[in-house]
């Protein structure tokens, strides 16, 4: 029972703090906020972290990571969020990268890892299909062997960022025998391959991040398969637990709650600041207590990881509570915006229409509904927890 930092950790924290102070945070944030410069800003920021050697803090040093301890990772996240600096995209760095260095061949590691670290390739995740969401193992996109190539046919959906992507990592069906999980392989597909098409899916916040990806006789070299044929499910599963801890976004919620607190000191009704409003206070402190607890749930998971236990079923708990807290913050923020919670500040008017955060609150609220759906919906997480944690 001790959470104080060692001298080295304090020194590390100061170094990180200093780094963020000097980083071009405001510049890249402005770029990322605009759809047409989103990619440019993201890549620029990631290259900045790469130059510092901090783009993949948890990767092993031999693969180009920083090899940080979970505590260092926690310090970094806290400082990143305190500096309002953007997060890195998970698809290359937190998802496919670890799969490649864990299960890939030497040649695959050399080919893909340096480009992931340098953000030279943009990756997207091709798991979900129209017929396979929560029941991912029922996926149907087929890959049939033809000489030294697979021929891929089918479609993926909800693919975040596919319209920017150079590569997609896919789960594909290579066998229909045995349990559905046993016939799935993990393929890396070049998005410029003939037969790949991308259709945008507009989302309820009015922005474009989701896509459908169609594969029409796409030829993929066998050497782009990770590990063994029909073992893809095992590789993908090892990564899902990581995805869930990522989605919890505890540090980010802390920043948002602090922002909300500041807004509440300015927003007034009848001459009284909303921070004094009894209903607001009650809702705010409900969230605050959950988040204070969640921060320590996260630390407990980190401590377990530090002693060699990978994120397991408890990552479900982090995901469920983490996303519930995010949504509660979104709800309270849009409610604090009051009558401005419904405004759209788009090209129709460039003028000041009278509110600082109403438009953003709306976008966050709407898109934030997805957090309890993606990465394995919260209902599925509860099923997993009931079965694997409680043994019911």
């Amino acid at each position: 029972m001790d959470i104080s930092f060692s001298d080295e950790e304090v020194a590390f924290r100061d170094q990180v703090r200093d780094f963020f102070k000097q980083a071009p945070v405001a510049e890249v944030t402005a770029l990322i906020a605009q759809p047409d410069t989103y990619k440019e800003g993201t890549v620029r920021w990631q290259k900045h972290l790469f130059a510092q050697g901090w783009i993949a803090p948890t990767w092993p040093i031999e693969h180009g990571g920083a090899g940080w301890t979970p505590t260092q990772m926690h310090i970094f996240e806290t400082e990143r969020v305190a500096a309002s600096a953007p997060d890195v995209l998970p698809f290359g760095l937190k998802m496919v990268g670890p799969v490649i260095y864990t299960y890939g061949t030497e040649q695959q590691k050399q080919r893909f890892l340096p480009r992931i670290l340098a953000s030279d390739d943009w990756w997207c995740q091709g798991y979900s299909e129209p017929g396979a969401g929560s029941d991912l193992a029922s996926l149907k996109t087929r890959a049939e062997l033809d000489g030294d190539h697979y021929v891929v046919n089918g479609s993926k959906t909800w693919t975040t960022g596919a319209h920017h992507a150079d590569w997609i990592f896919c789960l594909v069906r290579t066998s229909t025998e045995g349990r559905p999980q046993q016939g799935i392989s993990f393929l890396l597909i070049d998005m410029t391959s003939p037969g790949v098409t991308v259709r945008p899916i507009p989302t309820i916040n009015g922005e474009h991040s989701l896509n459908e990806v169609f594969f029409d006789n796409v030829r993929v070299p066998v050497e782009n398969r990770i590990g063994d044929e029909n073992k893809g499910w095992t590789y993908a599963k090892s990564l899902l637990a990581h995805e869930r801890t990522v989605i919890a976004r505890v540090a980010d919620s802390k920043r948002r709650l602090e922002k909300l607190r500041q807004y509440a000191l300015k927003e007034t009704e009848g001459g009284q600041v909303m921070a004094q409003d009894p209903v607001f206070r009650s809702r705010f402190s409900d969230i605050e207590a959950e988040l204070m607890a969640l921060e320590y749930t996260g630390l407990r998971v980190l401590a377990a990881q530090a002693s060699g236990q990978g994120p397991g079923a408890e990552s479900s708990l982090l995901k469920i509570k983490g996303t519930e807290v995010q949504q509660a913050i979104h709800e309270l923020t849009i409610d604090l915006a009051g009558p401005y919670g419904g405004i759209i500040n788009d090209s129709l008017t460039s003028g000041d229409i009278g509110h600082e955060f109403g438009d953003q609150a709306r976008k966050d609220y709407m898109y934030g509904r997805a957090t309890t759906i993606y990465g394995g919906s919260n209902e599925i997480q509860k099923n997993i927890t009931a079965k694997h944690v409680l043994g019911l």
Partner: protein, 377 residues
Amino acid sequence: MHFNLSEEQAMLQASTARFIDQQYSFEVREKDVRLPEGFNRDTWATFAELGWLSVPISEAGGGFGGNAADTMVLMEELGKGLVASPYIPTVMLFGSLVDIGAPEALKHSLLEPLIAGQLQGAFAYQERQSRYNLADIKTAATREGEGYVLNGEKALVMNGAAADRLVVAARTSGEQFDTAGISLFVIDANATGVHKTAYRLMDGQLAANIRFENLSVTSDQLLGDEGDGYSLIEKVVNSTVLALCAEALGIMNKLTDITQEYTKARKQFGAPISSFQVLQHRMVDMFMACEQSRSLLYRTVCSVGTSDADRSLHALKYMIGRNGRMVGNEAIQLHGGMGITDELEVGHYVKRLMVINTLFGDADHHQQKLAQISLPT
């Protein structure tokens, strides 16, 4: 005692449902909200032909003289169909204010074209700082000679972009939060000295910030007595809140229905997802939220004009806000990724529900108003 609709109400309900069924698909709606004004003038003309624009207007004002139950029936159906129209700003707010406040000549000159579908109106009441306080008015109407001069800015004026005429709430005396000293004026929205900045709300409808710069108005543009506008505002806002709650209930029922249909059709793990008990319970919760809201809506309709009226209305808007959010969130969640797309109707219903929550006080606001009645401080 019974909760049946009258014959006329049943006809109104049927005709509204028929219109939506035959002429107002989701695709039509999507096209309509993309129009520059956020709604379709032809649809509005149909509203006029069907007699809907006269429903809450008194017989003396040339209308149908409908009561709260009549409005409820119409609005619930419009909610189910997610009909994009300026019915609330033009008819419920502008029309009713003119109906109860305008001198005879002015009343007829405005309500006749309004009922015929040829005049758009809006009510400019709130300001940037007002939040949900209807008395928070800084816009000033200063006496000058026989008339007044208007200066100030109104915010979030529903239908402010398309309106031909506006009712403006301005202060003729008193301090910023005083209920006394507020006066209502009917003005020409295109007069010089009126500056509009239009923008969209998340339900596709347009609102505007409207600034008045030394706008001269005459005494015969005044609704009711000088300084006594707040009582008119309260009256009209109360009936509008009821109408909005009926619309919201229509939306909540629709969301509950389409969620049930979707989960019956959607298969995962080899079974319709509606067969998973945890989702069944959630849909039962949605259903109960609708039923409780309906009960409170009926109670509020029945309590109009009684001592239970205010308490019912606050409880209703509170419950609609809270239950509406729950139903909206659950509808999205149970649709999975489909619920996040703009291509499905679910998200659009949710967005209208969210806008309704922000009109005339949200759930938290009305919860406190209710508590203030039962537990006065």
